[in-house]
Symmetry: D2
Amino acid sequence: MADPTPAPRPPRIAVSAPGEATAEEIAAAEAVGRLLAERGCVLVCGGLGGAMAAACRGAKEAGGRTIGILPGYDEKAANPWVDDVICTGLGQARNAVVAATGQALIAVSGGYGTLSEIALGLRLGRPVVLLGGWAATLDSAEGRAAMPHVPRIATSPADAVEQALAALARG
Amino acid sequence: MADPTPAPRPPRIAVSAPGEATAEEIAAAEAVGRLLAERGCVLVCGGLGGAMAAACRGAKEAGGRTIGILPGYDEKAANPWVDDVICTGLGQARNAVVAATGQALIAVSGGYGTLSEIALGLRLGRPVVLLGGWAATLDSAEGRAAMPHVPRIATSPADAVEQALAALARG
Amino acid sequence: MADPTPAPRPPRIAVSAPGEATAEEIAAAEAVGRLLAERGCVLVCGGLGGAMAAACRGAKEAGGRTIGILPGYDEKAANPWVDDVICTGLGQARNAVVAATGQALIAVSGGYGTLSEIALGLRLGRPVVLLGGWAATLDSAEGRAAMPHVPRIATSPADAVEQALAALARG
Amino acid sequence: MADPTPAPRPPRIAVSAPGEATAEEIAAAEAVGRLLAERGCVLVCGGLGGAMAAACRGAKEAGGRTIGILPGYDEKAANPWVDDVICTGLGQARNAVVAATGQALIAVSGGYGTLSEIALGLRLGRPVVLLGGWAATLDSAEGRAAMPHVPRIATSPADAVEQALAALARG
């Protein structure tokens, strides 16, 4: 019998990365996935293709673990680098599950699905780090005023992962 | 027996308006609610207090109808100007139901709940009109490039309602 | 300006009635819809065709109001007797919204979607009345033991509506 | 660099097991969890205490993996034997995510939350195996007639796991 005493869980970091993505977003997502795995994190994402697949592939190449939270019921929609498939059937409301499941969120895309995950993450008080994508738009005085939580702006995949983990360490 | 032949449904317009709101947001939400009712629309919102209550009160003062889509299970959380209470128990995922139920969305707040409804509405292809709130942040070249749908910027409650109805009329 | 003082809301009763239904279920759903409307209730259902359409048609013929909570995003899926369309995009999870939105639930079908709404309604402490369908299966000693809430068994549409309203009146 | 070629995913089996459970349900859940792990399956459940914790503990004692799909946003609600915590915030609608995520479902409880997962699993066409709990109620002629999918009745934890895996093998 294995020792059932549970070890502490590794950090779960959500990566918001779209199915249709630019080459830059694909590269950023893959780098973020790889770095998260190297830091011992579990990667959470929407589970589909494009930059989601890139993030998962990066994590698996570095020996990490991945969770894919699908909008539909069919596991076949998951990219092959997803370890644990969560079939929600919730459509776009699954974005709320992605944002809530990550203890922090790194957003690498400029699409509206990502914007919804950024907003839901901040609404739930999760640390949110922007790497490209919405960074230029949301890093403004207007967006940062009078908010209890503000997104952090990262300059590289490594900086994004550092900021996400630092935010978790501060609790 | 009443004539069961169904009449066409009136337009359903979602108003994204937060529980904690500035005086300006409260006034804007109430004006939008009143104008929507005067134009024969059903108002859809998150059903709670603050600017949501203001929007509903405005609609009821003008003889309109209101739907409140609550995050929880208890109808007592609904403001008194909600006609039809929808108890979802979905937490923040109910924002996706608000965005999907409105055939168009008017956003009067600058909070993250509203940002999530803006993003989810645009993700679903619903016309989205910004009145104050996130308008200054999202009305930028960065945000508007390469998107199939972009938010419309309104200059007044009347302009917001006009733009929302014009977008619906164009189909 | 209309008087904005809100009147008390009419009771909302969910009717669990499937898209594919027997002739008996269709007839029961229509009768329940009509009787609910005659008693001043708002009817809540899943909004699609079959027995859901029958329930809504019955309610509208009696001058009542209807809410249809759809599993998808497209209002065109709603039957023509739905007054207020709620587009959830939640798939089968919308059954939880139907069960939660009704202050009581009347189940007229023997399918699994209805069984899920019965179970979710009871789980949430809502009064649940069974008219045919699952009545014979769930009206057993096994099912009724050790449960804080048990389904009520009705013998006719009128009895179902009476029991649902009586349960609400007891609060 | 680790080999990124993805291995086939292990089967995911949902175990419907309540927070408040009888001693018999606790023992059954733990045995099912242990046997699933011995057969190489990932266990999916609602992630909380009681029989959910027993199922997860059984799986971890046998060296398996566990996914806990929580109704709320706070990971602290998860029992310590959950490996991957999914925070949904969806309330009871999370039962639909549990039922959809399992490729098959084993139900060991007689409560309404479990009944909703049984019904949702069958509604989605997932194989459902009943071990105690609702078995006596649902194993009737009424419940089995005219249904495209019917629940399977198991006589022991080992039989339940065998039937679930056999159903998956038949596709």
